[in-house]
């Protein structure tokens, strides 16, 4: 068990986003979190990644207990994420964006970098090579030097995945990676997500609306509704769970 969330509750002012949610994620697993809009999926992700601090409950990540995490600490621990609406650095090229993902791993201080010759240059070259492997892996060699702002939606999503991978994360949080994509782009992204899990062994926590995708690629699924966990299990168990069907078909509570 790489991660376990125990009775987490989160509220903004009066609004209770998450109520007493507990679930766990196994090592190298593809864990999906699904639920109708406003069920608290993104909030959950933001708790895991330290952007929001839950009022109640704890998070256990690799045997370390956290009341709450700050995002900087989460990144250092090896939790990387992508955002629902793309959060790339518009002023930089694809290569620079992905290299930023490796900032935590760079050791040289700014004086050495200013001097450039010597350790800083060597370090830059090593990290460049690691990033090139990711670029090769995501098949985006042809847009290496293009400013990110100019790329189509599908490619921007891939670059963001690249940036998250650059940090060599233990756990990767994907916030609706397939939103707004056509059939072909979805297939590509699924392939990449599976390859990441398969090639690098990264644990993946996935939020996604497209049931087809979720059922195909995830090992286990958590279903949230109005901030509460209403189902947890393999895709088949969840698909036939009556509570889930009600939640989605909108039976009144």
């Amino acid at each position: 068990m790489i991660l376990s969330v125990e009775n987490v509750s989160l509220a903004f002012g009066g609004v209770r986003a998450l109520q007493d949610v507990s679930f766990d994620v196994g090592e190298h697993e593809i864990r999906a979190i699904i639920g109708p809009n406003g069920a608290g999926k993104s909030s959950m992700l933001n708790v895991l990644n330290g952007v929001y601090h839950p009022q109640k409950g704890t998070i256990r990540f690799k045997e370390k207990i956290f009341k709450d995490m700050d995002s900087h600490e989460a990144a250092a621990l090896g939790i990387a994420r992508t955002f629902q609406n793309i959060a790339l650095f518009k002023g930089m090229s694809v290569l620079d964006n992905i290299m930023t993902g490796r900032n935590l791993k760079m050791r040289c201080n700014f004086l050495q970098q200013a001097l450039w010759v010597g350790p800083a240059k060597r370090e830059e070259m090593e990290h460049r090579r690691a990033v090139e492997e990711i670029i090769d892996f995501l098949e985006i060699q042809h847009i290496r030097r293009t400013p990110v702002g100019r790329l189509p939606y599908g490619l921007q999503k891939r670059v963001e995945l690249g940036r998250a991978l650059a940090a060599e994360p233990k756990m990767l949080l994907l916030d609706e990676p397939m939103a707004g994509m056509n059939l072909e782009e979805k297939q590509d992204m699924c392939r990449f997500v599976l390859d990441v899990n398969d090639e690098f062994g990264t644990t993946i926590v996935l939020i996604e609306h497209d049931m087809g995708v979720v059922m195909d690629i995830s090992d286990r699924v958590v279903v949230l509704d109005y901030g509460r966990k209403i189902a947890d299990g393999t895709p088949d168990q969840v698909r036939n769970d009556q509570k889930v069907i009600d939640a989605y078909l909108g039976v009144t509570h």
């Binding site: 933001n46 955002f83 959060a87």
Partner: protein, 301 residues
């Protein structure tokens, strides 16, 4: 009443009245920011331009009221031209770009005003003597200049008019809608360009009033543009979107500045009014980044 207390009241009153003057200028900033989300750094230059135009016309023998109306017309035209040439092409640019554009505008206005009217300072006389009010000084021999009170009165009047204008009239409501979200306002059919033109014209009028008040106080000369720098701390405290905020902010800055000048200044060797207002504003900002009345910004991930 002991001499120190009288002296303190005088200094406080002087400070408050100076604060009113700051508020007047700050009002121009708030107006434009409220309606177009643009922090118009050139408001100071507009104040100077308005004062200079008015004074030059009066010196050329124009009747007081005629000069006033013509200057107002000139300011309205200036507002329209600015909106058309500078702001419309930059409509959805980030705020920093618009801010820098207004700095550019400041320099254009400064150059223009001195080119047309020359750059020697002018005295300005509004027919109100800068002499202490008699009954006040007899009763408690506190001498507060008549003119300051008059200025305070004008400012109060202006604020009331603007408050009513914003809250009650149809255009006022449209202005507030535009301030919140340009696209949304456009969506419901508010003629954005039209509204901005009005806003800039009103801001021109406020600049004129401020220019007159400041002109009488310090004379109409180039230094007037730096009055904008004085308005900044006021806005920081009062918040950029609220008119009452601008007035109260002005009073706070005016009072603290004067008091500090008199009581604290000597320890630092005097002349601290140039930076003291900023320090006050900064302290305020660190506590409440969006100022007294401003809304809280929430950054969504």
């Amino acid at each position: 009443m002991p001499i120190e207390v009288i002296f303190f009241i005088e200094v406080l009153a002087g400070g408050l009245l100076a604060g009113v003057m700051y508020a007047l200028v700050a009002l121009g900033f708030v107006l434009i920011y409220k309606a177009s989300g643009v922090f118009n750094f050139a408001q100071g230059a507009m104040v100077f331009f308005a004062a200079l135009t008015f004074v030059s016309l009066v010196e050329r023998g124009w009747n007081f009221w005629l000069a006033l109306v013509v200057t107002l017309a000139v300011m309205v035209v200036l507002g329209l031209v600015t909106e058309r040439v500078v702001l419309r092409p930059l409509v959805n640019q980030p705020q920093i770009t618009l801010f820098m554009a207004t700095i550019g505008l400041t320099f254009v206005l400064e150059g223009l005003s001195q080119l047309i009217w020359g750059s020697q300072p002018h005295g300005l006389e509004l027919g109100i003597p800068d002499v202490p009010m008699e009954w006040l000084s007899q009763r408690w021999n506190i001498n507060i200049s008549q003119f300051d009170l008059f200025a305070a009165f004008v400012a109060g009047l202006l604020v009331a008019v603007l408050a009513v204008f914003f809250q009650k009239t149809r255009i006022g409501r449209a202005l507030r809608a535009v301030a919140d979200d340009h696209q949304a306002a456009l969506a419901v059919g508010i003629p954005l360009q039209h509204i901005w033109a009005i806003v800039w014209a009103v801001a021109g009028f406020v600049a004129l009033v401020a220019g007159l008040m400041w002109g009488v106080r310090n004379g109409v000369q180039f230094a007037l543009t730096f009055v904008a720098l004085k308005a900044l701390p006021v806005l920081l405290i009062g918040g950029f979107e609220s008119i009452p905020g601008a007035i109260i902010g002005g009073l706070i800055i005016g009072a603290t500045e004067k008091l500090a000048e008199v009581y604290v200044g000597p320890f630092f060797g005097g002349g601290i009014e140039s930076w003291f207002a900023y320090v006050v504003a900064l302290l305020f900002l660190l506590v409440r980044p969006e100022g007294l009345f401003g809304e809280k910004h929430i950054d969504r991930v």
